[in-house]
Structures are given as structure tokens and as C-alpha cells.
Amino acid sequence: MGLTPSFAQAPGSEVEVAVPTQDCSINMGPQHPATHGVMRLLLKADGEVLTGAQAHLGYLHRCAEKIGENVDWTQYLPYTDRYDYLSAMNNNLGYSLAVEKLMGLEVPERAQWMRVLLAELNRIASHLFAVGTYGLDLGAFTPLFYTLREREEILDLFQEICGARLTCTFIRPGGLFNDAPEGWLEKVESFLCRFEERWKEYDALLLRNKIFIERTAGIGTLSGNDAVTWGVTGPLLRASGVDWDLRRDQPYLVYDQLDFEVPLGVGRQGEVGDCWDRTEVRMSEMLASLSMIRQCLDKMPDGAIQHPDAGPVLRPAPGRAYVGVENPRGELGHWLVSDGTKHPVRVRMRSPSFCNLSVVEHLLPGAMLGDAAAILGSIDIVVGETDR
């Protein structure tokens, strides 16, 4: 980068203020607290105002797709836990649905309801983390600890049902590995009651806080058109006012039997699609998930949780399948190719964080340096998923 004099010119005034300045390029990351992992953003800044941004990925690349070609269909499950490690259940679900589509399996009904319940619980856990760390990005430490407190309760529930907290490996092709232990569903119910109260605390500490509103309203606005053009999905897309949710628009499992609303960004504090809207959508989605879990608890049937044909070693018929599911961060798609053997030929995923991250290059220029953390945090990436 050479000396590039830019002339700050006041438009419409007679006086030209000709101070030659030089944009400063700053490395944000790979070791930076606001990048939520090992990621590098190359920023260009004119004083506090950013003029350019470029995301450099790959620090956390673990060959997740290539590994898929070398393991069994079932053996790939633990790897799905690990790309978006904050929503392992949803990843398990996406992969399992794709394998079931290849095999043409119909999952038992109880398993379907359990899957929805687990996926929505994990969605709450993931959004809790997203909202909490977003507060952290903006300098509010405490909300993170509050959200983690509730997330821990969800993880305790996960631990009780599947034995692991983060990397669940629980939803599998054909159903679930295990049925819920005695009294587990009641524990979920009691958690939901506690959670509603706690939700109000985050609302007051973050969403309704004046400083938080000032920091996020009107910042990093992504219009609906741009959002669609950039291939953004999930809460980001809905915050921009685009009414699209795979759970409702391409229903899988028993989502078509559930009654839920899809929260959209309406620009209550600033513009539609700003950082505040994104946080608000996540917060509202937690409540929506809450009502979905309640419905699941009410309608939970008895029965098997595993399809009898789905043994430990699967051999789907030759063919290919794509299944997209609504993950906490957006559409997680699995594209699987089978040649009839016990190994996949190709495992490819469309990861929401990766697609959503691409908009930083569109959103950051023009924002301020302090907004870089605000915008990046509102996109809510998980670097494990962008790099896979």
C-alpha cells in the first residue's frame, strides 16, 4: 500500500480542505476477541471510519468434507457436531435427514417430535450464546454470563439425554440413538418456565438499553434485496424483512403440525435489517422456539425412536440428495452422493456462517472501527463452520 493521498473535500462548500491522508490497514485477528474464533479481517480505515474490509478464512479448516469420503455414513455423524459446534443437534439433524432422503426412510413419529424438540432447544442455546457474545462484543460482559447460565441448563438437559454437552452425536439417520430418560421431558418443561423470566433480563439489559440501541440501531443495515443477493439466510435474512424460514416454507419433520410465528425485522429502533433488528429477531426466535417446544411436549407420542432398517452400517441406494434445514445461523444444506457402498462418495455442506460472513465486505465499509465488532457480532458466525 503506497501513499495514497485522498482529499477530504467538503461537498458544496467553496473551501477545499486538502489534507493528504493515508488509509491505515489493520489486521483484525486472527487473534482478536471480536472475531469469535480464528479468523482474520483485513480492515482499511480512514481514522475511525472503515473504507474496506476483507475476510481471510481457513485458519480452522479441518477437511470436514473430505473426511466424509473416508468414513461410514454413520461414522460421519460426530464430524457434523463439530462444524457449527454451538448447534450440534441441528447439524446432526440436517445430515440425518439427507441420509434418510437417500435411503427413503420414514422416521418413527416419536423420533420426529423428539428431533424437533431437541433442535429447538439447541436453537435457544445457540441464540443465547449469540446474543450473549454480542453483548460482549459491545462491551457488556454481564449479559453473556446470564445467557450462559441458561445455556448451561440446556446443555445439562443434553447431557442427561445423550451424555455429551456440546458434541451431541444424538440424532442419527433413522431416528435417535436413545430415548429420553425418565422424567426428562418434565425437566424440559420446568426449564421453559424459568427461561421465560430470564429472557426478560436480557431484554432489559441489552435490547432495551439505550447504549445498546445507540450502538446497533441503524448500523450495518442490510436491505432485503441485498440479503437475497448475497445468499444470506437465517436470522440475518429475516431481520432484513425477508419472510423466509425453511421450517415453515419447506417443512420437514413435524414442523407443519406446529403453530409458530416467524419473527421479522421491522426496524423498530433504526432501519430494517440493522444490527438491532438481527438481535431482536434472535431474541424473538428464542420465544418462538419456546412455544414450539411446549407444543412438542404436549403432542409427544409414544413409540419407537429408531427405524428398524437403520442399523449401524448403512448402505443407501446409489443417488444424490440435498436437504436444507433451518439452523440457528441459517440454512444448513447437506449434499450427499452415494454409490451404494457404505462410504459416501461426496459429502458437501452449504454452511450458513460461510455465506453470511461474505456480507461483511459489503457491510463494513463506511462503518466505524467500533462498529466492526458490532457488525461482525450481529452476523453471528461460528468459525468452525466457515472453515469446516
Binding site: 501513499l3 467538503a10 461537498p11 458544496g12 462548500s13 489534507v19 493528504p20 491522508t21 493515508q22 481514522g47
Partner: protein, 171 residues
């Protein structure tokens, strides 16, 4: 050697040394920080003279305000200016020598130099300064004139620096 002479020489050394460093330092930012030493030295000299209010004001305004603005400006300006150094040198000479010459001439032409270095017992300088400033027969008028001048300069600067607001921010 009594305490007064000792502190006087210490503070003057600080003031002159700081000024010298500011002059001869290669880096502009270091020069600015050297000015801090100079300011502190001058403040100390005021203190020796019993003008504690002036000393504290010197620190508050020059070190805490003006120096910070210098630094702010320096950090915003690229390290090398556009015009070559050789061009600036004669000009700098004139700018440096002229005021010194004027000061020297004035100093030498006065009959009694070697000003008395010590005031009478310093008592309640704040009160005295306040009275001197605000009494109608004191310095009230010149003080207010100066503030109006500063205000005018401020308005002018705002006018020059302000962007056109015709299309943005209609309210």
C-alpha cells in the same frame, strides 16, 4: 545554595532542556512530548515565583489541552510533508530568529533588567486573580474581549470545517 535557587535552576534546566529537545528531535511526536517537559519546567518556575494558580493553569491548559491537540494533529498528518526540507529551512530561520531578535532588543534596551524573582508572600492567589479579573475596574473588559475574539475564531473554524448540511439532516 538555598532552596529557591536550587528549584529555579532545576526548573529552568527542565524548561530549556525540553525546548531544546523539542527543537532538535528528529521525530515530530517526540518533539511534542519534549514540549511537555518544557511546559512542566515553566510551571515549576511559576511555582517558584509564588504564582501557583498560573502554574497549575499552565499544566492544565498547555500540558493537558494544547499539547494533546498538538499530538492529535501530529498523528493525523503524514510523517513527511510534500515540500522538500531545503525549501523550508530559510523560512524556518527567519521565523526562529525574528522573535528572538525582537525579544533580545527589547530586553537589552530596557534600563533595569534582572527582574525581581520573588513576589511578596503568596497569599490566596486565586482570590486575587478572581478579583482582578472580575472587578469592574479590573481586567473584566479585556478578558471578555479576548473571549469574544476566541468565539469569533471558533465560529470561523466551524464555518470552514463544516460540511454542507443542505441535503443531509434537514431537521
Amino acid at each position: 545554595m538555598n532552596g529557591e535557587v536550587l528549584s529555579f535552576s532545576l526548573f529552568s534546566a527542565l524548561a530549556v532542556g525540553g525546548a531544546g529537545l523539542a527543537l532538535f528531535s528528529k521525530s515530530a511526536v517526540r518533539s511534542a512530548f519534549a514540549l511537555l517537559a518544557s511546559f512542566l519546567g515553566v510551571a515549576g518556575l511559576y511555582l517558584v515565583l509564588g504564582a501557583d494558580f498560573l502554574a497549575v493553569t499552565q499544566i492544565l491548559l498547555y500540558a493537558g489541552g494544547i499539547l494533546v491537540l498538538y499530538l492529535f494533529g501530529l498523528m493525523l498528518v503524514p510523517p513527511e510533508g510534500d515540500e522538500p526540507r531545503a525549501l523550508r529551512r530559510p523560512l524556518a530561520l527567519v521565523v526562529a530568529v525574528a522573535p528572538v531578535a525582537v525579544l533580545l532588543i527589547g530586553f537589552l534596551s530596557r534600563p533595569s533588567h534582572g527582574a525581581r524573582a520573588v513576589l511578596a508572600e503568596p497569599t490566596e492567589t486565586v482570590k486575587e486573580i478572581g478579583l482582578a479579573l472580575l472587578r469592574p475596574d479590573g481586567w473584566l473588559l479585556p478578558f471578555e474581549y479576548a473571549s469574544i475574539l476566541l468565539l469569533a475564531a471558533l465560529v470561523g473554524a466551524v464555518h470552514l470545517a463544516r460540511r454542507s448540511v443542505s441535503n443531509e439532516e434537514a431537521e
